[in-house]
Amino acid sequence: MTVLNSLTGVIKNEYVQQARARGQKIVGYACLATPREVLDAAGLFPYRLKALGKGETEMADAYLSRFNCGFCRSCLQLGLDGTYDFLDGIIETNGCDHLRGMFENWQYAAPRSFFHYVRVPHLADADSMRWFVEEIELLIEALNEHFGADVNDYKLNKAIEIQDQIAAKMRRIYESRWGGEIKVSGHEIMSLMVAEGSLPAPDFVKLLDGFIGTLEDRKPINCRARLFMGGAATDEIGLIAELEQLGGLMVADSFCFGGRLFLREAVAKAPVHRLAEIYLNNLMCPRMFMNYPQRKAFILEMIEKAAVDGAVLFHNKFCDLHGIENVKLKMNLEEAGLPVLLLEKEYGAGADIGRLKTRVQAFLERLKR
């Protein structure tokens, strides 16, 4: 667990330092829609941007405004204060308007020599899929050109294979909470999900294997209520841990540092097409349009399998995508008989934890748990 703790406590972790020492290039990305296999195949170390709950945004606030999402402001802060200086390049995605703002300001204030924009469609129809295939091809071209990489189908297939393995292992740990005793808490699961984008894929396989090895001997965790949590982009492991202390354990979630991370259904065989399908068809994010029923079904299925007692849906202040979709989800989950708590929060606002805990505690009391 020490390795996991270090991965989720420090941005410039030991793997980053090792990569720097051996001369491996590190490229940052933020959104789940980024096909990281392409970076793996290019011999790069894909590092997922995160802020680890750090709420200071002094430098970032000179660029983004207080009407922008705190998570993006915190990531920008770390980009400007030197924490992310180890990145050799950045890949932008149009995950949401706040994220676009973060990337634009980062590149404006502290430009990187490699900056590539992967434009992710907001629909998942056949035309959008063709467009996304082109985007992946353009990414390959850009990486080959800038880093002198030689991405080919063989390398891509290998990278896909290893990510498939990772997804299967993550799913195994994730779903271990669904039948009977809970041996892994929700915040530990989030730690794993946050760790995922913090180290090279082969190292993460080893870490997962180690974790799986400990599963059997773990003691069951006391559980007052089985909760589903979902909503805004957050890597605030500490927040989930604090809330779980009240006794409601997160047994399923739809966070992008969570339950959305290992969905990989695809039928295409050619690697670029396969990647396009993996990343676009399985993107269970409200930034996608015309497929709310799919997202709802994904959540309802988890809720049923995990035998959930209640759902807590978060959104970071000013996050429109989750703020709006949570209201619709709340209606649908309540129709399905599940009590729901909506929580608007500031990212990384430790001082506000007491008020969040009051609401979650009252929710547990409402559940008669």
């Binding site: 922008n68 149009n94 676009r100 924009y117 434009r119 959008s128 467009w131 703020g323 209606m331 909506l342």
Partner: protein
């Protein structure tokens, strides 16, 4: 829905706006001062304030045509159901001319309805906003959309037959709000995605999406898009474009002969009645009034303390204390970024060339062009710089409409770049363009006063002109 919230919304926004306009359109084409006085006395305070401003003698000719245009739009919407036509609700950044080319479709623009409600109704749009908030929606949504859609959500207003989400890819908050309404009310949603790619490739993808949307509209209308209709609309679109450009040219004059409120008329025409005779008439009367001003010795000799451009939106909830106040203080209100669409005449050679032109017009429409570009800041800044030079602007203002996360994301950058490239300062305000209780008008006025006197004038860039 709880009864208290329902009670609060009472009657829908559309119904109330429609009722008011069906009275206003019966007004004689020219109102005497006594008649205007009389009208104002019978109207509730909020409506009276707006009418006082709209129907003042100096702009009455244009305002009357404008009111007639909007009445027609509202009537067509209202009559659509009875005549078997389908009403398509679209956001402001979706050019409506393509819908006008269908026999069986009628467009209605969300933001135009909201603005009419805010301008013309007692209590403005707040009851509908509150209704939407009561559903649990967050308070950082766009009021321009949420006020009208809130009314629709209350189930007490007219329901369109489909909703076009014309800002997928360029505005999360509005496209998500459209989706929410579509899901809740059970309306078919047509999503037109704009790829954030300024190259020919991006345009090609957009073109494909647009053609797909036409097919969806044809299905909804139960008719094919007819060449003759398309041509007829296109010809009128070109006339609108011509008039729009004439007005643009006039704005270069010092002092500016185009009254500030005309920017509102022009935008409403672009958003709702572009390619229609009523739209042409509105623009023609705006042009006639502006030309008259230009030719008037008295008008030309008036003082112009500042020429101010709103780099994003303006405030639309208080015409008397805002548009009139600026005029009284000799601040030329040069309009807002809703005018930065740069329409080009359509090539009428064939169906394909007409459609290509309409697609490019949609691609380049306001906000889509700027916020929906590869970079949210780059095109926006370039357009601001261009308009500053074209219209001899000496001060710009950012209204700080809370919900616009895109402009808020890059405002700081835009302010720096505009200053660097043109030397023109920008005042940053915070407020909501459609909800008065977010920032009181008196606070806004005070900040503008300070900006004009202490920043614009001090910088020696004042373009005061006396004949």
């Amino acid at each position: 829905m709880n009864s208290i919230s329902k009670q609060a919304s009472q009657t829908g926004l559309f119904s109330r706006v429609y009722s008011l306009f069906s009275v206003l359109k019966k007004l004689p084409p020219q109102l005497s001062e006594e008649e205007l006085e009389g009208l104002i006395k019978v109207l509730p305070a909020d409506s009276a304030n707006s009418m006082k401003s709209l129907l003042k003698p100096s702009i009455q000719q244009a305002s009357m045509t404008f009111i007639q245009m909007l009445s027609t739009a509202l009537e067509e919407t209202k009559a659509a159901k009875q005549s078997g036509k389908k009403v398509v609700l679209a956001p402001f950044n979706f050019p409506p001319e393509i819908i006008h080319a269908f026999d069986n479709l009628v467009p209605i623009t969300t933001e135009v309805l909201t603005t009419l409600g805010v301008v013309a109704l007692e209590g403005q749009g707040e009851r509908y906003w509150s209704y939407a908030m009561g559903l649990g929606l967050p308070d950082h949504l766009c009021s321009a959309n949420t006020i009208d859609l809130g009314s629709m959500l209350s189930g007490m207003d007219f329901e369109p037959d489909a909703i076009i989400s014309g800002c997928v890819g360029s505005c999360d908050v509005n496209s998500k709000t459209h989706e929410f309404v579509s899901l809740l009310v059970g309306l078919p949603q047509i999503a037109l995605e704009k790829p954030p790619d300024n190259t020919a490739r991006g345009l090609k993808i957009f073109k494909n999406n647009y053609y797909k949307m036409i097919r969806q509209l044809e299905e909804l209308a139960g008719e094919e898009l007819k060449d003759e209709n398309l041509r007829m609309v296109a010809e009128k679109v070109n006339r609108c474009t011509e008039l729009y450009r004439d007005l643009w040219e006039l704005k270069k004059q010092i002092p500016c002969p185009v009254p500030g409120i005309f920017s509102l008329f022009i935008c409403a025409t672009r958003f709702a009645m572009w390619g229609r005779d009523e739209g042409i008439k509105t623009l023609e009367s705006c042009l006639a009034v502006s030309r008259r001003n230009f030719e008037s010795e008295a008008y030309r000799s008036r003082e112009e303390a500042a020429r101010v451009f709103w780099i994003y939106l303006s405030y639309y909830y208080d015409l008397v204390r805002f548009y009139d106040w600026m005029e009284e203080n000799h601040i030329s209100n040069m309009g807002d970024a809703l005018q930065l669409a740069f329409p080009e005449p359509l090539d009428l050679s064939s169906r394909e060339t007409i459609l290509d032109g309409m697609i490019e017009s949609a691609w380049n429409n306001v906000m889509t062009r700027q916020m929906g570009a590869a970079s949210m800041s780059q095109r926006w800044i370039e357009d601001i710089v261009y308009v500053i030079k074209e219209w001899h602007i000496n001060g710009t203002i950012y209204c700080g409409h809370h919900s616009c996360k895109q402009t808020w994301s890059v405002f700081s950058m835009a302010r720096n770049e505009v200053l660097k490239r043109t030397g023109v300062p920008t005042l940053g305000l915070q407020g909501d363009s459609w909800i008065r209780s977010m920032t009181p008008m008196s606070v806004i006025q005070e900040e503008i006063e300070q900006f004009v006197h202490n920043v614009i004038n001090k910088r020696g860039r004042r373009r005061r002109t006396r004949a």
